[in-house]
Symmetry: none
């Protein structure tokens, strides 16, 4: 006889502070809490969510770190414009505010399990090598113009049913975080300006030979030895990549 305790269910393995983080983050992203407005106070959140204040504060601190709120003593937690979550990249148009642009993601190659490419531009850990990778390609549009073409290799380590998920118009990082508790913790990147050729010029609708921004990124996650490898082509004819550091 198997005794099911509360510690054994998958959902209850998620710490309470992370559940609150996700709830609040979702509400901020969906506009329930508008930019510039105050979140409910810590004590209110304690009451509503049946948690104690340190737990609520832990969730709020994570929201601070990720840029969703600013806390001010005596006043409260002020909602900020959420970072445009394109892999810790954001883009700015040359003439219009970013919040007004329509973003869309189209999957060019659905996630499929493959061996790592040889040669591969990145150094892999031994564990990553052993398990192969999940490979996917996306094309992302701003106002129906193709802007990003990214090729992703993700270690095929403990990602149950990843290849059966749908990624159209969804954030890869959101899915990794909410579905697998994998969080991006930083990374390294290389940048070049190159000439658009072949698939790149076709997908991004850039004249062959014109400049395209090329980026290789290795993202660190909260899983040891588990990185996300992306090769990104960016059409900067009308938009620029915008970043903070």
């Amino acid at each position: 006889m198997i005794i099911i305790t509360k510690h054994m269910t998958e959902e209850n393995k998620i710490p309470q502070y992370k559940k609150l983080y996700e709830t609040l983050r979702r509400h901020i992203a969906s506009g329930v809490y508008e930019e510039g407005s105050l979140l409910p106070s810590e004590n209110e959140l304690c009451a509503v969510h049946s948690m104690t204040r340190p737990t609520v504060r832990h969730a709020l601190e994570a929201l601070v770190q990720d840029g969703f709120i600013q806390k001010k003593q005596g006043k409260g937690s002020i909602v900020q414009k959420p970072p445009q979550d394109i892999g810790i990249l954001s883009i700015s148009g040359t003439s219009s505010a970013i919040g007004k642009q329509y973003l869309r993601t189209q999957i060019i190659q659905k996630p499929q399990i493959k061996a790592w490419p040889v040669p591969f531009n990145f150094d892999l850990t031994e564990a990553e090598k052993d398990f192969g990778c999940i490979y996917m390609e996306r094309l992302r549009f701003v106002n129906e113009q193709p802007v990003f073409y990214d090729i992703n290799h993700i270690p095929n380590i403990n990602l149950p049913r990843f290849t059966s998920r749908t990624f159209e118009n969804k954030s890869l990082f959101d899915i990794l975080r909410t579905g697998y508790q994998i969080e991006i913790k930083g990374g390294t990147q290389k940048l070049k300006a190159i000439k658009a050729t072949g698939t790149v010029s076709q997908l991004l609708k850039i004249k062959t030979g014109d400049p395209v921004l090329y980026m290789e990124r290795k993202l660190l996650t909260n899983r040891e030895g588990f990185h996300i490898y992306s090769t990104i082509y960016f059409n900067s004819e009308k938009h620029a990549i915008f970043g903070n550091f």
Copy 2:
């Protein structure tokens, strides 16, 4: 009669967790705790510093956020290589380690006081507008190949004799920090791939129309309302821009 309580001294205004953070950070930077080694455990730090564990954990969490340690449940807090200077560009060659490459800086336009350009790609503070700017251009070589062409606008606020300094083969940031106590604290940047034309193609020896990486950067400093504005062209034919985030 004024009663001096512990809450009134300046030193005791600093929270305990911040004191511990600074102590540990200093020890990491000075090599007392070597990269890859373990910090004392949380309970040991509690005993040594007469603090409770939540306070110690608060300090350690800040060290995690700033990249000085990694925590691993069951094992301890592992010292990391301290983060590289913020905003510093580094480049990697496609085939050789950067440390072996010969870097050289040539001044194209020595620092001179000018009005801010109109139009200017950046938003200025009122103070910056009032005082005008110091303008300079540099060309930087790797192995005698021109790689960076940067155009800098610096607010002409309280920088005595800046225009009489020499910048050949010197770091602008070092001069600002050591000569004027101005430290870079972060910033924002925009990236594009554009076609090389005119001065850019001549200086960087890129065929007209070929891709060049274009970057606009606004660097925040420890002086409120004082930013450094740079427009940078990067020849990525043989090298890539490398960065951490």
